[in-house]
Symmetry: C2
Subunit: 282 residues, 2 copies
């Protein structure tokens, strides 16, 4: 079976590819926008319709794990990366009349403002994003539903909560990545403090190795048009997570400097964790 | 009070401006993307951030009726016209720190697939658009909610059902406009038949003169972040509407040729009409 993985040089793909490579029935094709990506990863700017069409035409994938995307919270970056890239893939499949199954990656940021009592949040929770990244992922969800309904496409969506894993692999835009970067700098004597913002919020962290197993499960068994939470089903206070990360590095909270933002960030969600009944029922 | 109206040379604006002009406290500023628009209508391509900023900076409007938009069902046209134009206006207001109240125009097409039992549809009905135009209007709704929540902006939204009014003013992309155009051609001896598709669906038609009164009401009394249906609260079968239009022109159903689409259009909604309790409660 011909499988295309986009965002193939990214954090998540690193783990997904290990999983997929174990299945010798799969013929893996990898694409990423990063030019000079390692190995046999093809370079493709997924925001460019023509490039995507060429890619899809060349591979004729039967399955697509569309991991590529961005979370910069800059609309001019996240809209093309998260919405247009998806639209280009779906339009190419339509044009070429390929009945591929596509796994799209949403985000728990789509839920946005959840009240404490809404936890664990299930997939029917209203989507009230409060970050640009989450807003563009909501667009992507709407786009998926549209293409399923109108064109009968075979699309499924994972809605991952926060991913954890090796610090050095995680993007520096994420909390773990930011902390890891500063810990490394402390070890190298470049800085003496780990500076963080609010660490009182509680978030659902799932190990990326478990997350990609869920992605595979959704690809294999998910119902077309449906969204599935991917999380651990429990929350951890960011402060406790920070403590764990420091401990692993042989440091403690003494190196931490908490910076309270000048204006209270009213859009910060105090606690969110996933209801996993839907994915566990697959 | 300085009021900006976008889409000022369009069908709806023709009627809204009559209403607003009667209020001498208002200082009206008009903008449209159409170059060479009549009267004192400024030309502004609302999809261009820079042009929008200049426009907003020049007027410093206290109220904006954002009527501009498109319904071509071509994503590459409707996305910039319906989503980016709105984003450019909101970003300009943020940048200039103007606390303007903005009325945005959604669409009943956002509801998309409603079941017969869902009628009359209220504003909390799930949004399941089945046309590109409706999809982009859903994006716009998400964008509005985001800007209200995150930036505390003063935005309200009308969700109009089908507008009726003088045939010659209505866009030829709309059913009434299409029928009117063909009636005119019959009168001129250019064609002998009015060709229509499925006319069995039932739709909520509201006279544009009443619709703009609702728009004004939402602008005056609507709650920030809220969406209000604008409709008649009842449905009319398209066949009966067609009959009425023909009658007005001194013709009858004998001139009509119904073309059944080769593939059943499964995304066509058989009946939809508005629940008006929310707007009537304002």
């Amino acid at each position: 079976m011909r499988v295309l993985v986009t965002g193939a040089s990214g954090f998540t793909a690193h783990y997904l590819l290990k999983l997929l490579a174990a299945d010798c029935r799969l013929e893996l094709h990898l694409a990423d926008c990063a030019s000079g990506a390692p190995g046999k990863i093809m370079s493709c700017d997924l925001t460019q319709k023509g490039e995507v069409e060429e890619l899809i035409k060349g591979i004729r994938p039967e399955r697509i794990y569309h991991l590529a995307g961005s979370f910069t919270n800059n609309y001019d970056i996240d809209y093309p990366a998260n919405v247009l890239s998806t639209k280009n893939i779906l339009d190419s499949l339509l044009k070429l009349a390929l009945p591929s199954r596509v796994l799209l990656i949403g985000s728990s940021a789509e839920y946005g403002l959840v009240n404490a009592g809404d936890n664990p949040v299930n997939e029917d929770q209203p989507l009230r994003p409060c970050r640009i990244h989450g807003l563009t992922k909501v667009y992507q969800t709407q786009l998926m539903r549209f293409y399923c309904k109108v064109y009968g496409m075979d699309l499924v969506m994972a809605r991952p909560f926060n991913l954890s894993g090796e610090g050095k692999r995680i993007s520096k835009l994420m909390f773990i990545g930011k902390v890891h970067e500063q810990i490394e700098k402390i070890k190298n004597g470049e800085i003496s403090k780990v500076i963080v913002g609010n660490v009182e919020s509680k978030r659902d962290y799932i190990d990326v190795k478990q997350a990609v197993k869920f992605y595979q499960k959704i690809m294999e068994h998910g119902i077309a048009g449906e969204v599935y939470n991917v999380g651990s089903g429990r929350s951890i206070r960011m402060r406790d997570l920070l403590n764990l990360l420091l401990k692993e590095a042989g440091l403690d909270m003494k190196v931490v400097e908490e910076k309270v933002l000048p204006v209270a960030d009213q859009t910060d969600v105090s606690e969110i964790y996933a209801d996993l009944r839907k994915i566990n029922g697959l």
